[in-house]
Point group: C2
Chain length 203, copies 2
């Protein structure tokens, strides 16, 4: 076939991302198939290469969708969160875990997809990733008595801390198998760390 008018370029792009995202959720990264994703969208594999340029870019687009959903999930959780600092931090961390648990395959796909340094990430995809970090920046960094640079470093370190708990938990890795409440452990660690970085007047 040739140019088909049943979908505009943008519609087609979104259609394929949607189909791939759903398939990733069903199968997980290891059993994902671009062929199958295209098939379900009613197109053939080649179309993916046309639209995205390659499999890596397609996977990046799928993961960007996950980042958006994840950000929205966190924002939603923060609406109902308590007003005190510890309460908000706990809500944030538990929402982080909640999204991962309720969307295991697509959450893990974010980290399963290793992107070669050679291929460049579109600014749109970059923004999706930054969006998540910026939520934590807003919630945490502003309340600290640190200069911006130190606060940024600490926030990223806190994200790594929470990520570590969540990743080991969901991969069923040895370290957290017997732990009943990994999210609670992450919350505790984050709060312990934060007390070290509060100015006396804040603690």
């Amino acid at each position: 076939m040739g140019r088909r008018s049943d979908h505009s370029p943008d519609e087609l792009r979104e259609l394929l991302v949607l189909s791939g995202h759903a398939l990733m959720g069903e199968r997980g990264f290891a059993k994902f198939s671009a062929r199958e994703a295209a098939r379900r969208a009613g197109y053939s594999v080649g179309t993916i290469y046309n639209v995205f340029g390659g499999l890596d870019q397609y996977l990046i687009a799928i993961n960007s969708r996950t980042f958006h959903e994840w950000s929205a999930w966190l924002e939603a959780a923060l609406i109902d969160a308590p007003r005190d600092r510890a309460g908000r931090i706990e809500a944030l961390v538990r929402a982080y875990f909640g999204f991962a648990q309720n969307n295991q395959n697509i959450w893990m796909a974010i980290y399963d997809h290793r992107i070669d340094r050679s291929i460049e990430i579109a600014s749109e995809d970059d923004a999706a990733r930054e969006g998540l970090t910026s939520i934590v920046d807003r919630e945490v960094a502003s309340t600290l008595g640190l200069n911006d640079s130190d606060a940024r470093r600490l926030v990223r370190s806190l994200i790594a801390t929470v990520h570590g708990h969540c990743a080991l938990w969901l991969t069923g890795s040895y370290a957290l198998l017997e732990e009943k409440d990994p999210a609670g452990q992450a919350v505790d660690r984050v709060l312990e760390i934060l007390t070290h970085h509060l100015t006396p007047s804040e603690s």
Copy 2:
């Protein structure tokens, strides 16, 4: 061919693990090929299925080898470590990072391989994984004024904290891209956490 006497069952097993481990180091998990690993060992794919029972068990065996090397690496680093608590903790965390950095592909393969709950892990492979945790248990837990249960929980949480920093760093993930010394951040976080769990007389 039939039964060949050039390798005993144990030798063959080790030969294949060695070959697979080397290939994993060269290519990484995504581009690993059991066929190629067997080829390099001078056998055909079927042999892997004979010896290990399936691809999953083969990958588990390869990763067990990594765990042994990793444990040895940590023990070696602890020999030259300072005697004070903070110094030993720092040495441990930096050795953790050092192994991962110097063996990126085989280190990441540990977490890339998702093991279905249905397949059971041989006690030998379990021991390889426990061995690593037990090093941290020995170094950290015994110095804390906690009961065994709480200490175990905390140690695993600390491992998750360090793992998170290391994983985000090596995957080139958004959160730690600009961080110059991720290991140092992990060390700082671990020490900050530990001060919260020391009895007054120890701090």
